[in-house]
Amino acid sequence: MHDQELILRLQRGDEWAFQLMVRRFRKKIFSIAFGMTLDAEESQDIMQEVFLQVYRTIGDFRGDASLATWLHRITVNRSLNWKRRWARRFKWLHVSTDSTDGQPAVEPESDLPSPEIRVANAQTRRQIDNALKMLPDQARTVFVLREIEGLSYEEIADAIGIKLGTVRSRLFHARRRLKEILQPLMEKEE
């Protein structure tokens, strides 16, 4: 079913259409939310909130953008709102001391067989998380939409409501900052 028909059915209150939309977009919504928050539980909550907001307000959807763009926009806003909450911000800024002692802790929840691989995997995850957390909100939003969802510059511009040049600029700054963050790691590997 095309998005146009899906929207019409949603606006008529078709329960099956809603289920189809959830099934079609649930992983994308979760992925964006996770890229923004790096918190799986919060991302699940955000995903639910996004779908319920769509369900409540689908009658107001005028079709200026595609359904996917509208969902991306709501997800980004919800994720940024989550980050703006003071208590959660404290959690976000908290960096584990395990990463500073050079001996990363083994994460017991990993199902990888080798302890060495599990350590390396955990270390990589921490590096990714810490690097992403150091990016400013605006730059990270663009970076996540580009790298995780693979959106084009135009799609990102539509989703966030910014100009194409601003997308390029934010993406450039995100990568430049990442290069600075990753520089010590690159030198270490040489």
């Binding site: 979760f30 590096q127 450039f172």
Partner: protein, 166 residues
């Protein structure tokens, strides 16, 4: 032909190269530069590896989520919203008819009450404070509203029948 980027590092173009945003000519020039530039190769490798690891990180996180259970939760919540919203909208819709009907009934009641229940008692046709003359009988009628109507009259003596009566 010399490549303008062959010996100059250009971060912006490297960015666009990463995103596949260069045309064929620019792409070839950038590849030529990267082949001869260790720093750009390192940066490219670091950013590519970071993006790859990030996607893996998100993929792993998504794989640990029970989307089927989440879908059920969302559907249940939406259905509850729909029912409560449906109940409210039905109530609001019913008001469209209830309010005019109530107002009309109220006006009719007010009209009936003010015209029939609160109808002022009929005024007496005359009030007599004193009377002179002959009066032989007085009759008092009590109305249901305890208003009194007093009639008086004089009976002329039947001269012919008087002796007969006696």
């Amino acid at each position: 032909m010399t490549h303008p980027y062959a010996d100059a590092c250009d971060e912006i173009r490297l960015d666009r190269y990463l995103d596949g945003d260069l045309d064929a000519g620019e792409m070839a020039q950038m590849e030529a530069h990267i082949a001869g530039c260790l720093q750009c190769r390192r940066q490219l490798a670091a950013l590519t590896a970071f993006s790859h690891n990030l996607r893996d990180r998100v993929h792993d996180a998504a794989n640990s989520v029970d989307f089927v259970a989440l879908e059920k939760q969302v559907l249940n919540k939406a259905l509850r919203q729909y029912r409560s919203r449906g109940g409210l909208s039905r109530f609001i819709a019913s008001l469209k008819y209830t309010i005019p009907a109530t107002v009309t009934a109220g006006l009719m009641l007010f009209f009936a009450y003010s015209n029939y229940v609160l109808k002022p008692p009929p005024l007496p046709s005359a009030i007599i404070n004193s009377f002179t003359g002959s009066m032989s009988s007085v009759m008092i009628f009590e109305t249901p509203e305890t208003r009194q109507t007093i009639l008086w009259y004089t009976e002329e003596t039947d001269v012919e029948s008087e002796p007969n009566a006696v």
